[in-house]
Amino acid sequence: MYREDFPMLKQDIIYLDNGATSLKPQCVIDKMVDYYENYSANAHRGDYDISFKVDLEYENTRELVRDFINAKRKEEIVFTSGATDSINLIVNGFFANLLERGDEIILTKTEHASNIMPWFRVAGNTGAIIKYIPLDENSFVTLDNLKSVVTPNTKVISIAHITNVVGDVRPIKEIIKFAHENNIFVVVDGAQSVPHMSIDVTDLDIDFLFFSAHKMLGPTGVGILYAKYELMNNIEPINLGGGMNESFDSTEKMILKEIPTRLEAGTPNIAGVIGFSEAIKYLQKVGMDNIEKREKELRNYLIEKLLTIPHIDILNLESDSGIVAFNVEGIFSEDVSYYLNKYNVCVRAGNHCAKLTKDVFGIANSLRVSLYFYNTESEIDSLVELLKNKDKIMKEML
């Protein structure tokens, strides 16, 4: 199913690191090549035909993204260089101006570095306090646990919809409802969820959402920031310069453009954004509900097989996304990944950019398999076969 659309899959590899980045279908690559070969002009000019076409294609992607996450207005979508860029803009362009000494920022210890480090700095600069939602025995977030840390000083909750190591799907709808009843903003890291399930920002009532194109079949170097219109309008641009100003003069007066352009200074990643349009269309063609369903099947299949191997410890058995974290007893995770690499199996080893997770699991490092809809049962069989024989791993990992 769909595998023939992905040039990378013509190689003899088993790619199981989709949480890091996804493979790209031919249509995405072709779309970018088409831009470079046939209308390679800058955006925001429109003085000549090919530039006008760039603007049309670029803005068409924005409309596709709007529709994909069911935002109300196009102005609620800003293109950035990636999810990391998006969250840094949210934190530094919005919350840095809002937070005061003693205000509370609520995170969890299983967040990705990008959803922790910007908050550390803004807390340091403003005197705000970082608190973590206590996690349950499965390392999950529950509404009750969230309530136990919220106080009248809580200003923002920033959490992943799906975490990149534990792979738990957070109950964000309930969390957002509770947060809004208490005048708390909610920032959602959608990097591991938007590529894998249908997300409706209007239904969920999300304040801020950020994610990356490259984890959802799109090019690298493109990120998306969604914010509700009023909130987006209050994000202060971090980058000033070309494309985002209406005028400036020698009295140092600057008039900026409206959103979203105001927040996209400089020449954007035009080829990437335009290429991303094909990724969205492709995902819509496959259907997000089908993708979610297929990944659940694959996950269940993988878990069922791994459970038959006594020397495998699964760390997130109860999670229900396509992310499976595990260790081979007595063997360091990186050694196992080196061994698997000899058979062209790509999995991730390490702490997966979630360095606080060790406080939760008590285990700093693990192997992570992250599935996408183009993976197959037969690829999982190959992986499992390689993991079955511990002596073979020991012998061949060096």
Partner: protein, 140 residues
């Protein structure tokens, strides 16, 4: 990798020499890690009168890093700083495909072919970077 070298590495990985945490103030602590992977080792070093009296280590690291640390420790204990530096330089030379003296290496010879895997060369050199820093600090 040939069988004998593999056995040396595995033996030192599964039964590493002097792998224990040290609290004593007689030991100086140096952390050494690879920024691009997850190897993270603490070395505890006791030097008296220019002689390395003892080294212990602790931490999380792959088979190559762990066994390289174990083997390095076995070879450096009892050496003067000068002799230790000679051993270290010789090991570096082997990893960097320069001229080196096989006879000085003892079990360290197990990493003779590590240069062929550039990503794992850093694992083998990890403890050496740490000990060099400790020796530098001692001399200053």
């Amino acid at each position: 990798m040939d069988e004998l070298k593999r056995e040396i590495i595995l033996e030192n990985f599964q039964n590493p020499y002097n792998k224990e945490e040290v609290k004593s103030e007689d030991y100086k602590l140096v952390n050494t890690r690879n920024p691009n992977c997850i190897d993270n080792i603490d070395l505890y070093i006791k030097i008296e009168d220019n002689i390395i009296k003892d080294i212990k280590f602790n931490g999380e690291a792959c088979a190559i890093s762990t066994s390289s640390t174990s083997i390095m420790i076995k070879n450096l204990i009892g050496k003067s700083i000068e002799d230790a530096k000679r051993y270290i330089q010789n090991f570096y030379n082997m990893c960097d495909e320069l001229e080196y003296d096989e006879d000085l290496l003892n079990e360290g010879i197990a990493f003779q072919d590590i240069y062929k895997q550039s990503n794992r060369k850093n694992c083998a050199l990890l403890p050496y970077r740490g000990i060099l820093k400790a020796l530098e600090d001692y001399e200053n």
